[in-house]
């Protein structure tokens, strides 16, 4: 573990809060926008020292640790590794883009909107960098309030229903997470996540802890059948809300699985893996089919998120290097691509005041630049080779087929569905027969919009064509994770032989799984 002298993570968390304080004293709407944009850019610059991230190390870096409440063993403990590094960068990078895409979209209570945005980013960075379990939980819950306000105040017509559902669903899910944290504390006698991960817990205990944590994370991801809050929240949220929701919030669920479920409850993870994989298949297919039938662009993209996140959870529960690499890549790429798509929908909504596909036909003629970006992100979303999402999905598929051909066969239709709904959407938008253009201002992208689509497009190509650097950043951490994981589960396999009556399902899966994990790790060394 690398201690750092410059408390960069603390700064990244607290700088947005300072900016909030400054915002309180700003009088005009324009001032609030400019100030938040400046804060976003400064935050991004402040994050630059993170690029000193040591690619060869799999441990935690930029670690900060201070006593917080020694009576309870609580500490202010931050640090990032390969898993969280990219997520922190993604979160920070999205802040200025979110400000830019709300520049004209948000016209009421502008100051409060930007305060919520900044609070959101602070909490999200906190979630990804907290290494103390309670600190993690605090950020995890603290993020709900600004997100709730984003939907409930600046949302669409049905915002009341959507925001309540979002809040109730996610809070209900995470209440049991707190019980799991407390139970882990009394068993492991610490709240520090790295220390907890080094200990072994009894199988029974793991089962319960896993279930308590998995419900919280599955709702956040969201996995079928806990996904119903997502389309409602996405459709009603303002553009920036949707972007943060899709690009950052959903990742927290997957991040939770990787950071907490796998290291803390490895045997239970293996035991429940068939179920999780089954649910992932359901998510992929269900998300795809439902997306195919949508008339509302935002809803379509929301359901496509369910499908994409299905790939993520699938990759995670393969327990192979390729699978988890793929899952992380899909997380990152989904953040870029879907964030871009939501921004595009927001941009078109400002022009036509409708998100219905049928109201926005034939844009290719009027908005060529817009359609270029739309086509690019749509192709990326369906995993077209050369774009970023292809890398992630391909890695997950490689992982799946290496493990079990039948599972792979089951998700292939999901990939095809992705192509079907995205191409259908793009085709209608680009070449459909336009309705009367009355009341709509078909102006192509202005400078501000170019400014926030271009960076995303660059990353679509960069990660698509040269994923090497990104993979190098995450690989050491994943190898270490899988190494301890297989060491812990291997011990389980031995005890299983002695007690064959316990957990037959887990055993079956494990015997197939174990050599695969070892082989893959050996291969990559």
């Amino acid at each position: 573990m690398m201690e750092s002298s410059w408390p960069i993570l603390t700064i990244l968390i607290f700088f947005p809060l300072l900016a909030c304080l400054a915002l309180v004293f700003v009088k005009t709407d324009h001032g609030a926008r400019v100030l938040t944009l400046a804060a976003g850019i400064i935050e991004l610059l402040l994050a630059m020292p993170l690029l000193h991230f040591d690619l060869a190390s799999g441990g935690y870096q930029f670690v900060e640790k201070k006593d917080w409440m020694p009576d309870w063993g609580l500490s202010y403990y931050l640090g990032i590794d390969g898993i969280s590094f990219l997520m922190v960068l993604l979160t920070v990078a999205l802040l200025p883009l979110c400000v830019l895409c709300s520049w004209t979209y948000i016209s009421k209570r502008v100051k409060e909107f930007h305060i919520s945005l900044l609070l959101m980013v602070a909490a999200c960075v906190g979630v990804f960098s907290a290494l103390d379990f309670i600190l993690f939980y605090i950020f995890w819950e603290a993020m709900l309030v600004p997100m709730f306000l984003l939907i409930a105040v600046w949302g669409g017509p049905d915002r009341r229903y959507a925001s309540l559902k979002f809040f109730l669903y996610t809070l209900a899910g995470s209440t049991l997470l707190l019980v799991a944290i407390i139970a882990l504390y009394w068993t492991g006698h610490t709240f520090s996540i790295p220390e907890l991960a080094q200990k072994n817990y009894s199988f029974n205990f793991q089962i319960w802890v896993f279930l308590a944590m998995a419900i919280a994370f599955a709702i956040k991801v969201p996995m079928f059948p806990f996904h119903t809050w997502l389309p409602a929240a996405h459709v009603e949220a303002p553009t920036a809300g949707s972007v943060l929701l899709a690009s950052v919030l959903l990742k927290m669920g997957a991040y939770g699985f990787l950071r907490l479920c796998l290291p803390l409850t490895p045997q239970a993870s293996v035991y429940f893996a068939p179920m999780m994989i089954f649910i992932s298949i359901c998510s992929i297919l269900y998300g795809g089919f439902v997306a195919l039938g949508q008339k509302d662009m935002k809803k379509l993209i929301a359901y496509s998120s369910v499908a994409h996140m299905g790939f993520v959870t699938m990759g995670i529960f393969l327990f192979s290097l390729r699978g988890i690499e793929g899952a992380l890549m899909v997380m990152l790429n989904h953040g870029i691509t879907t964030g871009g798509l939501f921004m595009l929908v927001g941009a078109i909504y400002e022009r036509s005041h409708s998100r219905e596909i049928s109201e926005n036909l034939g844009l290719g003629k009027y908005l060529p630049a817009y359609m270029f970006f739309f086509g690019l992100f749509a192709l990326s979303s369906l995993g077209f080779p050369g774009t970023n999402s292809f890398v992630g999905e391909a890695l997950v598929l490689i992982g799946v087929f290496a493990k079990n051909g039948w599972v792979g066969a089951a998700i292939i239709p999901g990939v095809m569905l992705g192509a079907a709904y995205m191409l259908r959407l793009t085709q209608k938008l680009a070449w459909g027969e336009p309705p009367s253009a009355k009341g709509k201002s078909w102006k192509d992208l202005n400078f501000r919009e170019w400014a926030y689509f271009t960076p995303l497009a660059v990353f679509v190509f960069y990660i698509g064509l040269a994923p090497g650097l990104t993979l190098r950043a995450i690989d050491p951490t994943l190898k270490e994770l899988l190494h301890t994981f297989s060491a812990k589960t291997a011990r389980k396999a031995v005890t299983m032989v002695m007690e064959p009556e316990k957990g037959l399902a887990g055993q079956n899966f494990e015997t197939k799984l174990q050599p695969a994990v070892d082989e893959r790790i050996g291969e990559s060394r």
Partner: protein, 472 residues
Amino acid sequence: MIQQISQLLPELWQIAVVLVLFLETIGKPANDAAKPKWLPLAAAAGIFVAVFSLKADGLLFFKAYQVDSLSQFFKLAVLVGFFIVVLNADPLPTVESEKRSDYFLFLALSALGLMFLASTVELIAVYMALEISSYSLYALIPLRGKDQRAAEAGIKYVLFGAAATAVSLYGLSYILATQHSTYLEVLAAADWTWTHSPLAVIGLTLFLAGFFYKLALFPFHFWCPDVYDGTGNETAAYVATLPKLGAVVIMIRLVAMLKPENGIITIIAVLGACSMTFGNLSALIQKDLKRMLGFSSVSHAGYIMVGLSAVSAKGLAAAGYYSLVYVLMNLACFWVICRLATDGRNITLDDLNGLYKRAPGLAFIMAVGAFALVGLPPTAGFMGKFFLLTSAWNRGHDWLVIIACLNTAISIYYYLNIVRHAYTAEAEEPLPAPKPGSALWGGVLATLLLILGAFPGPVFHYAEVAGKLLIP
């Protein structure tokens, strides 16, 4: 003698306040003054006196009166609460001006009773202190103009209170008969197992009932929403907060005598679970804010039981810490209610509509108070709940921790509703904006809640020191 006086400074200060108030009531009726101008200052000075004597320690009055960390912690909490309540009771729209001195006299007297309660370690003395604080409230609650609901609330409170006290005294007689003492010190050494002295166990359970009533714990909670609803907003702010402190401190002392596996602890745990579930479910459908907070306090009484059922130093400290936080967050909510009800009426959820526009400060206070009541980080409500739950795990009542967590999920709906009305709804007709500057002390409360959420260390540490005195 001097030493004894120095140990009793907070009480003596409060007695002085009571005496001066008494002189005011028998003097010329105050003409139009909302309240004695000196009272907030005196109450603020009381806080300093309490802080000054935090370290006091001693056993007085024939060993019936213990001055220790626990009692000083609660005396400080009572005085902080009293200060806020006094500030809050301005302009006191529903009390006629000639009754205002009496109003504050009873308020101060009741707080004095609670301070005595924090220190009493002998059951008869406990009973006396409890009655000092209760009798003043019996007089306070019906003081709301000519409102019939207030009279009803007053009668309910007296009847319930009298019944609960009777039960309590009945239990006391059993304890005295079987354990031959009323001193907690002696009782703590006695055998409280069911097999050895069943009558004593019954007696202690009955005795506790009196405090369950004060705390509005299920099934002794029926008065709570009605009294909050009927009595004036300012009085409700007091009834909802400070008396609970008195009940908690005595329960902490009594529970500390028992072993974790004692049947009484199980009863406390079960009643706690019932209380939080019942309180939260009933609060879901309330439209009147005070009624909602009434049911919310029923559920919070249940949460406090989680800490008590742990029967460890940390658990008792967590209960103490949470009751302090509970007072602060409720006072924050009542602060907003009292500011909005300029004519002293009851506030409904719809009255909060568009509050963010009329009074952004009050809306913020309300939001912090509500989220603290849910137990959302980064407020003190979360930290308090976290201490309660963590201390209770692995102490034989794991199911209680899970129920408490699930209850958080139930309760979020109605607290969130408060925030939703304040922040997202628009008022249909323009409602009057509260006076500027009205958010000041509420803002202090909200800030305190946030600070205690981020840095609970020092306060909790003090509570833990107190807890360790009882259970080493």
